[in-house]
């Protein structure tokens, strides 16, 4: 069992930024084709603003009491702890399957068609067990390595697409319906799951500043905006014909005769999903009161695998697990409701 080793708040927010970027890496047909680029950016700003609001209760808890929701709950009665563990467990298991499903699908459809999605999920989850047992400190250290990989991949991705830019691909400046805007804004609000992770895991983070959260969301926004810009102006209508249109960017990127950086793209997606799953497992084990417990982590991973398998077998289950409003709802419970209740209780105690 690992102890909670203090780690830098900057490092944690950097890790969470990279997790949030996985949302755009795994983007398939979730974004509307009818909405023009400037309006899509507007929807993105609205979505990320919602994410910022999700951070407020846990940021207040951290800055006023230097703790997180789960650490505060340790001193509460057993039924309260059990209820919290159930909420966190359900939320985090849902979020884990939400990200695992599109990742394995993208891997099998775009990169290696002969592979079985369940096998890919099994191998990835195996690595996540190891990371989750090691704890948040080790995972955030891995985040630094991933940041370097992300920078390299982004440079290759965007640099390699510059020669394919064609501004005639953009279409009308402002076009689209309100429901398209709402659909996109809802999708861009899904990175709010990082607020749920922050609310549960930020207890040991040192030297926390509110600006860290703002910078993390700004970095996420810049990454999203760049990806969307290149999809619209470098890939154009071709993107709509393919599944996982952000992935198509990696196939379009080229430098002279050297073309296709799919391997970099897949590596970045794999590691981002790996970090999300590991942090989620850390969150659940912490909510149960056994952070770093190998049997518990293995059991939870087994649960994620079974849910993934069921989703692969039954399309209606898959639909339930790929629904952004449900993810936002679960994130709201963990990131907003839980810390807000604890904040109110703390205030009453002090009063």
């Amino acid at each position: 069992m690992n102890r909670e080793v203090p780690f830098s708040s900057k490092r944690m927010l950097l890790t969470l930024t990279l997790c949030a970027c996985a949302v755009i890496l795994l983007q398939n047909h979730e974004l509307s084709q009818r909405l023009s680029f400037p309006l899509t950016l507007g929807a993105m700003a609205a979505g990320l603003a919602v994410c910022f609001l999700f951070f407020i209760p846990s940021v207040l808890l951290k800055s006023r009491h230097n703790t997180d929701a789960l650490t505060l709950l340790r001193s509460r009665a057993k039924p309260v702890r059990a209820l919290t563990a159930a909420i966190c467990g359900a939320s985090f298991l849902y979020i884990a399957v939400y990200f695992l499903l599109p990742y394995t699908e993208m891997f099998c459809k775009k990169y290696y068609p002969d592979a079985s999605p369940c096998l890919i999920a099994f191998l990835l989850l195996g690595c996540c067990v190891y990371a989750a047992v090691k704890g948040v400190n080790v995972i955030t250290r891995f985040g630094i390595f991933l940041f370097v990989l992300a920078m390299t991949t982004n440079l290759l991705l965007f640099g390699g697409c510059v020669s394919s830019l064609d501004f005639q691909n953009g279409g009308a400046f402002l076009s689209g319906k309100p429901q398209d805007f709402l659909q996109d804004a809802l999708y861009f609000a899904t990175p709010c799951f990082i607020a749920a992770l922050f609310a549960c895991l930020c207890g040991s983070a040192k030297q926390f500043r509110v600006r860290h959260v703002t910078i993390a969301l700004l970095m996420t926004g810049v990454k999203y905006a760049l990806v969307l810009f290149f999809i619209v102006y470098a890939v154009g209508a071709y993107a709509a014909r393919q599944e996982y249109r952000t992935f198509v960017l990696s196939r379009v990127a080229h430098f002279g005769s050297f073309s296709g950086i799919e391997s970099f793209y897949m590596a970045l997606s794999t590691m981002s999903v790996f970090m999300i799953l590991s942090l989620l497992l850390c969150g659940v084990t912490k909510s149960v009161g056994k952070p770093g417990s190998l049997p518990l982590t293995a059991a939870l991973t087994g649960g994620i695998f079974v849910l993934h398998w069921l989703a692969e077998q039954f399309p209606f289950i898959k639909e339930c697990f790929t629904c952004p409003p449900v993810l936002i709802g679960f994130s709201f419970l963990t990131a907003v409701v839980l810390p807000a209740v604890l904040l109110i209780q703390k205030r009453r105690q002090h009063a």
Binding site: S164, V235, A237, Y238, Q242, R251, V252, S259
Partner: protein, 192 residues
Amino acid sequence: MRNKFLPLCCALCLLTGCNNAHRVETASVIENVCVSRSADKLCYTFFLLEDSDKPHAVTVPADSFEEARRLAEEQYIPHVTLAKLELLLLEQEVSGEVMRRDIDYISTQAYFSPVAHVALCDEGTIRRLKRDNSAQELIERQIDLLHSEQPEVKTDYLSVFNAYARRKSFSVPLITAEKELRVSSKTVIPVR
């Protein structure tokens, strides 16, 4: 014991991946496809990746790229792979009939590179390709040169597909081979 077990597992995983190596040897990598008409029938000629000077070409009569790919895999070239396809040449006479349809099909397939070259050509160019293995490289170099001189010329699937989507006329490279390979541009007017 634990320290030895982990590297051993990693090594096993990596080495068992080599089991797939024989697939690379037996796979037939296509690097160029030409579409022409022969005896009133559309023919798709698949040029396989070869080390020798003489190219290895397989001609499949078919009505579309999709059908040609399927027939090639079933009857002519087992383990055919089009992931490394670099050039699609369409004989000028058939381009009006097949270009839009085939590019449309290619745009839906994950394994094609969107930045592979597309060009029109004459009968002599296809004859030259069947005789000389270095012709493809020469053609690709000429297309790149044309694109750097005239960036408005659409030279790959991606830009040709997007040009069709805009429903406006656009230019594509035209390769001719009388005495030597020459490249020029030809305007394509999409049928509305």
